[in-house]
Symmetry: C2
Subunit: 405 residues, 2 copies
């Protein structure tokens, strides 16, 4: 049994680092606030007796030795947040992992396999794309050097920020061995709460397509330039954004479309913008449907750009196929939830998660607990203590069980 108040107090303490109005947190990846959060978690890891290592992309792994020197059973998540994020997204998974360790320490239980708790760099992707950067480098499909060269929304690189905050470590990446990976996370959506269910046995993660589009037109005077002679980069960008939403509405069946970011130049009331840079986030659990949505939006985008006589270019930021988690782990989350007296349902994840990168190297799965009002990436993000407790206890059971295999 985990110690629920202890877990909650760690969540509160970490939530104070980079706290913002409304109960939220701003710890964008590799900022000073992220460093302060990292320092706190590393301190807790050491207090719990974990052997802490930091790798070249700044992932931090704390290991508790097992009775045998085997590949560890790992849990973890991330502690970076979006600019106006909550206290639970990512943080819960990391701190519940520490609580599992603390509970086993208290009970003097040593598992056969080592246990590891990790927090991965830049899971959010809000400052540097792609998301799940650290876990993908850890797993090996994203080259370390390539990730380090990534330039973020403020024009600085992952490399220089990692060095500045002192988290450019030495541990190797891309050749790690993990026996199994389980991540506890808040659902971040409305389903569990709406259905009154405590535990989500996550079957997989939907496909994610991220692109940055740049429209280059001609700035000119808003009062003197006839509509027919305009090359309005802003209009083209906003028309495409509105169309992406139409595509989602028309396709239905869980197709999602979001334009969360747009920057116009010169961004003045009476100047036709000569430049618009904006992002497109399309998701679907069905890979073919997602591809269709992407194709539709791009076909329309190039058509509007041509009609307006502007240049349209695009830069892929992330392209992740839908992921299916290990069926044995999904089934065991489901059965353990029932054994522990909780309502449970299988469900896909709408958000990307580090577990989807770990799933490429070992059996992996996730446990969801409900998000109040389905809010996440919002300062009001909240999960009830009782649900946190249920999820953390399930994590404890699952990890100790996997660690005896």
């Amino acid at each position: 049994q985990i110690d629920q108040p202890r877990l909650l107090s760690r969540i509160s303490a970490l939530g104070e680092v980079g706290a913002i109005d409304g109960g939220g947190v701003c710890r964008l990846a590799l900022t000073d606030a992220d460093r302060d959060g990292r320092d706190l978690v590393v301190c807790w890891m050491k207090e719990l007796g974990l052997a802490v290592s930091v790798d070249g992309i700044g992932n931090v792994v704390g290991v508790r030795a097992g009775r045998e020197d085997l590949a560890p059973v790992m849990t973890g998540s991330h502690i970076d947040t979006v600019r106006t994020g909550g206290r639970y997204d990512g943080n819960l998974g990391v701190l519940a992992g520490l609580e599992v360790i603390a509970s086993l320490n208290d009970a003097h239980i040593v598992t056969k396999r080592p246990l590891a708790v990790a927090f991965f760099t830049n899971e959010e992707g809000a400052r540097f794309a792609p998301d799940m950067m650290g876990s993908q480098v850890y797993q090996g499909d994203l080259a370390l050097e390539h990730a380090l060269d990534t330039v973020g929304i403020d024009g600085t690189s992952v490399r220089e920020n990692l060095q500045r905050i002192g988290y450019a470590g030495e541990a190797p990446v891309g050749n790690n061995h993990v026996h199994a990976f389980v991540e506890l996370h808040v659902e971040q959506g409305p389903v569990l709460e709406h259905e009154g269910i405590t535990i989500g046995a996550v079957t997989g993660v939907q496909g994610i397509h991220w692109t940055e589009l740049t429209v280059e037109g001609v700035s000119n005077h808003a009062g003197t330039t006839p509509m027919a002679l305009r090359h309005d980069a802003g209009f083209v960008a906003m028309r495409i954004a509105a169309f992406a939403r139409e595509v989602a509405a028309e396709m239905g069946k869980g197709q999602l479309a979001t334009v969360g970011q747009i920057n116009l130049t010169p961004n003045l009331i009476n100047v036709i913008p000569n430049r618009a840079v904006f992002t497109l986030d399309l998701r679907n659990t069905d890979a073919d449907a997602l591809k269709k949505a992407v194709d539709k939006v791009f076909a329309f985008a190039f058509q509007v750009a041509e009609e307006e006589g502007v240049k349209l270019t695009h830069r892929p930021l992330a392209d992740f196929d839908p992921v299916a988690f290990d069926e044995r782990i999904v089934a065991r989350v489901e059965s353990l939830a029932k054994e522990q007296g909780h309502s449970v349902r299988r469900m896909p994840s709408g958000a990307g998660h580090d577990a989807q990168m770990l799933a490429r190297m070992c059996p992996a799965g996730m446990i969801f607990v409900p998000s109040v009002a389905g809010l996440s990436h919002n300062v009001k993000e909240f999960t009830h203590a009782v649900d946190i407790g249920a999820g953390a206890n399930l994590l404890l059971s699952l990890m100790t069980e996997l660690a005896e295999q």
Copy 2:
């Protein structure tokens, strides 16, 4: 006859103040660069023997005494620019006014009425709305205190910036007497060049409607929030922007619509924006048509906002009815152009101008010269030397003629 090289060299020298890449200028109103430009023009005014005064909104007027102590004939314009502006917009009118003075000085001609050359504060409206702020305060319809309280795009006020740059003057506003006002300006549009005509006899200025709209929704996760449950402030803003363009296309007949500025919060790829602030610039020479366009856009805006479950508020930034210039001045611009051997046509102005505010207090008119490729509010803004010369000579003739009345 004016001295064309001398006028061009002043345009170049002023164009060096706040110069940016591509041959453009960034002298947003009341910035340090604007102060430097002001200092240079004031220095030239004094060199030319003008009596310089600065009023409470920072308008600068240089007066050359006449044979009699009558209300002056005034010319002038503005020297503030948009963020990525050109060297001619506004600046030409002010410097051509100085060239008129210099030429009369050289020829030892003293007119019956005094002559005045003014540059008005914040004509562009790009930093502080409304546009034509200084000339409207000078004329009296915009209260000085109200204008001073205006907060700009960077959150600072007109008052504090005027004080910082040292242009909060003592001369009274709102009770000035001007016999007639004539402004030389680049067309900023494509008509004169397209038709191969040198001089535009400006009949008036079209109506201008500026609003800032704010959409407040709920930020949430781009991957977990079903489309039907979203309150996406960014989508609503961008959909309205696209619609404004549709209204212009559908109405035709010179209806213009521009969304030049949008700012999303938190402006991140995977967060549904909880806030969008954007501007709307609608113009038409026909007041009724303009009102119809405004009504259509607002009706749609409130409908989309309601459908999406977001809050929409709006703040009027400028609302200027179409203006007709004094028929005698328009006719005299036309006949003088012909007498001086230039092709000429009557035309309305698409851009707002200080002359439209002066037209509320005295007979006023404008002279346009061609803009290459119709470009303005663009670093590539350009007008050929020969056209500048033609416009400045016409201004000289018209001002001396008016000053004998």
